[in-house]
Amino acid sequence: MGTGETVAIVGENGAGKTTLVRHTNGLLKPTKGTVFVDGVDTRDTTTATLSRKVGIAFQNPDHQLFSESVESEVRFAMKNFGFDEELVSQRLDWALNFFELKQYRKSSPLVLSGGEKKRLTLACILAWDPEVVILDEPTVGQDALQKEKLAQIFKMLQSTGKTIILVSHDVEFLWPIQPRLVVMSGGKVVADGETSKIMADRELLDGARVTQPQLLRLYSRLRDRPASPFLNVLEARDWVGGRRARQEVR
């Protein structure tokens, strides 16, 4: 995976997605083969060193939140990495603002709702500004608005040249982003390429128990259709509107 690339990993439960991700910051070391992060073999360094570069937001926020306040939760990692106080408070303000958590600054992270906890874990990771951001199921428990917001965060991260790895079941969420798509099944990579191409292969998707995104399904059912599939609902709406206008002219 190259610098600045956005990669999504999909696949059935137990396909090995999370196991793969755990290799990127040295939580797991390969028993066969090698994993290089920024030219460094993960077996030659520590998880703490690698984590400075590779930030992983795990699936379940309850597995990491422990501090007495939201504020100190975000500070935790930065303190571990030895940031100076000025930078810490600067990054803290940015992260809490960005994820709309400012009003909870002094509250316990344990009283937040599921979606807020999830956002807090993302804030914790992005606060230390890692070069590679890995998100394990970021859309679980988020409402439509927050998903929209997450999509914006992706765009922002992409524009700053971060390498992003997304592990997700949420094909509807991935479809508009159009990342490089890696499909895993039974511990192996079964496909790797452009989202639009892989998502068109029904047989492959069925094998990995991935459903096709609705917009692509709609597109493949249309008889006279545009050259490329709709990437979002608005595109589909515009096309349908345009078609109606064309028919009325006729």
């Binding site: 939580l27 520590t46 998880t47 984590s51 597995h63 990491q64 990692a77």
Partner: protein, 247 residues
């Protein structure tokens, strides 16, 4: 840690020992326990340990019990060193540390081969109050779950730059806080959820609920029980008559 923890956790295996009635498994385990207390020579305790390992082999669980022994070995070494240094003699020091190993592994044999369901049946058979049985069996059942939780939490915190092995003793203890708080909080939440789930499944609505599976002593179980008791008597007689308290 994970490797070690397997030594006391049940795993479904098809073996002649697993098939036994849980009461017989408990009996065998207790007999070994008693024998390890009675054995007063290095030769006798070595014989008891050998017997435990033999049963473990029959139960196809030698590796798992080996883990228990490896773990207990650490404490056994400590016992050996202390007893030896306090002048109890080499043979006594060996005897005490071996006895410790035998006691631990004899209980491990029972827990590794008895499922939580069987444990529940045994406790009911002993007329332990139902709520206590339920609490105990649930605790046993949750050990693997909580362990998995602990490892996931450790991974999450390590990914946030936490280094357990860094610093002095005080620092290391403080490093455990980010692990323990989520672990305890999760367990409390889970127990609350379990209570609600049990209540919505009518737990406690009948004073005497029936069981789907009961325990039944078959010929196979009786034979094993009788033979094991005979061996216990024989070995006890051997220890007391022929060795006569000699150390």
């Amino acid at each position: 840690m994970y490797w070690l923890s397997g030594g006391f956790v049940f795993r479904r295996v098809v073996s002649p020992f697993h098939k036994l009635d849980p009461r017989v498994k408990l009996l065998v385990s207790m007999e070994f326990f008693v024998l390890s207390l009675l054995a007063s020579t290095v030769a006798a305790i070595a014989l008891v340990l050998f017997g435990i390992l033999l049963v473990a082999t029959v139960a196809k669980s030698l590796r798992r019990i080996g883990r228990t022994i490896a773990f207990a070995g650490f404490f056994a070494t400590f016992i050996f060193v202390v007893n030896f240094l306090f002048g109890l003699g080499l043979l006594n020091a060996i005897l005490y540390s071996f006895r410790f190993l035998a006691i631990i592994s004899s209980t491990s044999v029972f827990f590794v081969t008895t499922s939580p369901d069987e444990l529940e049946q045994i406790m009911k058979w002993m007329r332990v109050p139902r709520d206590i049985v339920f609490a105990f069996v649930t605790a046993v059942r949750f050990i693997p779950v909580v362990m998995l939780d602990a490892f996931q939490i450790m991974d999450a915190q390590k990914s946030r730059g936490l280094e357990f092995e860094k610093g002095n003793v005080v620092r290391r203890v403080r490093n455990m806080v980010p692990i323990l708080i989520p672990l305890v909080v999760n367990s409390v939440i889970r127990s609350g959820e379990l209570a609600e789930a049990m209540e919505s499944r009518a737990y406690g609505s009948t004073p005497k609920p029936t069981s789907l599976y009961g325990m039944r002593l078959r010929w196979y179980d009786v034979t094993v029980a009788v033979v094991s008791v005979l061996i216990l008597i024989a070995v006890t007689l051997y220890i007391y008559h022929f060795v006569s308290f000699k150390v």
